[in-house]
């Protein structure tokens, strides 16, 4: 009889212990879930959460304790405040990696968009080829050839051939506005994509590309001019018409 009573009491004690352990596990999970939610949601809500952290902790402690006194509350409060400040510092540290992660993700999105643009523009580039010669470009080339021939025949004995060329380029700068402006579509190339991803603003890139295009035009004019000059010189030598 006594043995059965003892066995029953032992079983009851075991049940109570199991229940207590379950209760402790539940509270621990709840506590951790608040911290987890705070980390997921972010820093902006951390202040609101930090205030809420106090309450459940106090409530949990108040609920858990059978006899609670005011003495036990104040150290608990100070401990909670200290833990909140620690959490704020930890949150500040976690903000910078979070911001870095967001920055990385935004850059990744930009990279994927640029990749899509590149793949979309590649067939157009392959089929369309380079830009067509517009009227001003053609005018420049024709003027360069004409000037080269003129300089070879009349001017080169007196001064350098590059002086008239520079004058011609200055004239082109002034005449540019009288020609119809051709809207050149900015194409996304690997270079522009890499520059965009490295953080350089698009406006700076487009201005640099415009400057590069203008320099390229001047270089083309110079090459055509020099080529025409040398060819004219050689043809004159060939036909023996050189009077210089």
């Amino acid at each position: 009889m006594e043995a059965s009573e003892e066995a029953e009491s032992a079983a009851q004690q075991q049940n109570n212990a199991a229940q207590r352990r379950a209760e402790i596990r539940r509270r621990k999970l709840l506590l951790n879930s608040e911290q987890r939610m705070k980390k997921i949601v972010g820093f902006s809500q951390s202040d609101a959460d930090s205030a809420r952290v106090l309450e459940p902790r106090l409530q949990l402690d108040l609920d858990g304790m059978e006899a609670c006194s005011s003495k036990r509350l104040s150290p608990l409060l100070s401990e909670s405040l200290g833990s909140v400040s620690d959490e704020a510092a930890a949150d500040e540290r976690s903000v910078s990696p979070r911001r870095g992660l967001q920055k990385y993700l935004s850059r990744f999105d930009d990279a994927m968009k640029l990749r899509g643009q590149l793949s979309a523009e590649k067939p157009a580039q392959d089929s369309g080829g380079e830009e067509e010669l517009d009227s001003f470009c053609l005018f420049r080339l024709v003027c360069s050839v004409a000037l080269a021939v003129f300089v070879r025949i009349f001017v080169c004995q007196y001064l350098s051939i590059f002086a008239p060329f520079l004058t011609l380029e200055l004239g082109f700068m002034g005449l540019h506005k009288y020609f119809p402006k051709v809207e050149k579509k900015s194409q996304t190339t690997m270079l522009t994509a890499a520059l965009l991803l490295s953080g350089i603003p698009a406006e700076v890139i487009s201005r640099s590309m415009d400057t590069y295009r203008k320099m390229s035009d001047v270089f083309s004019d110079l090459c055509v001019y020099f080529f025409s000059f040398i060819t004219c010189h050689e043809l004159l030598l060939l036909f023996g018409c050189d009077a210089s």
Binding site: S220, F226, F227, I230, H233, L238, S244
Partner: protein, 170 residues
């Protein structure tokens, strides 16, 4: 006389290289057609699939399900075979294109290097140095002769001009 035509030789070489470069896709496709043996088979398969599809459209699925299913299986099988064939043909074409490009670039590089080595010390043409002042040193590089037009300068100029001409023509 030979020395007087150095400039023309370089110009012709550059022009030839650029011309062949523009014709590379045509050369690649021509060679692909020569080395391709399965072109007829592919055409036959396509025709057969087309015929079977036409036959399938005349067969009622409700009334002759077995025949319909058999025909559809045949079409699917032949379509898969055709896809495999097209894939291998495309891969072969890409390979041929790659080989042709590599060979061209090697030949072009060899030609340019040989021209540079040939005219390293002598200019392709000579003009009075005061004509090309103040850039006479740059223009004469690497020959170093005052008033001369060096091979590098002439190559750059010819490349640019030929590219512009071919672009305008094409």
């Amino acid at each position: 006389m030979a020395a007087g035509f150095n400039w023309f030789l370089v110009l012709s070489s550059v022009f030839l290289c650029n011309l062949v470069k523009t014709l590379l896709p045509s050369i690649s496709s021509f060679l692909s057609k020569i080395f391709q043996k399965d072109a007829d088979q592919e055409m036959e398969m396509r025709t057969e699939i087309q015929n079977m599809k036409m036959e399938l459209s005349t067969v009622s699925m409700m009334d002759e399900f077995a025949r319909y299913a058999r025909l559809e299986r045949k079409i699917n099988k032949m379509t898969d075979q055709l896809k495999t064939l097209v894939k291998s043909r495309t891969a072969q074409q890409a390979k041929i294109k790659w080989i042709v490009n590599i060979v061209f670039y090697i030949l072009q590089a060899a030609l340019m290097i040989s021209l540079i080595l040939k005219y390293y010390a002598e200019p392709v043409t000579v003009v009075p140095s005061k004509w090309i002042a103040p850039l006479e040193r740059l223009v004469a590089f690497p020959s170093g002769i005052a008033g001369g037009v060096g091979i590098t300068c002439w190559l750059v100029v010819c490349n640019k001009v030929v590219a512009i001409i071919l672009h305008a023509v094409s």
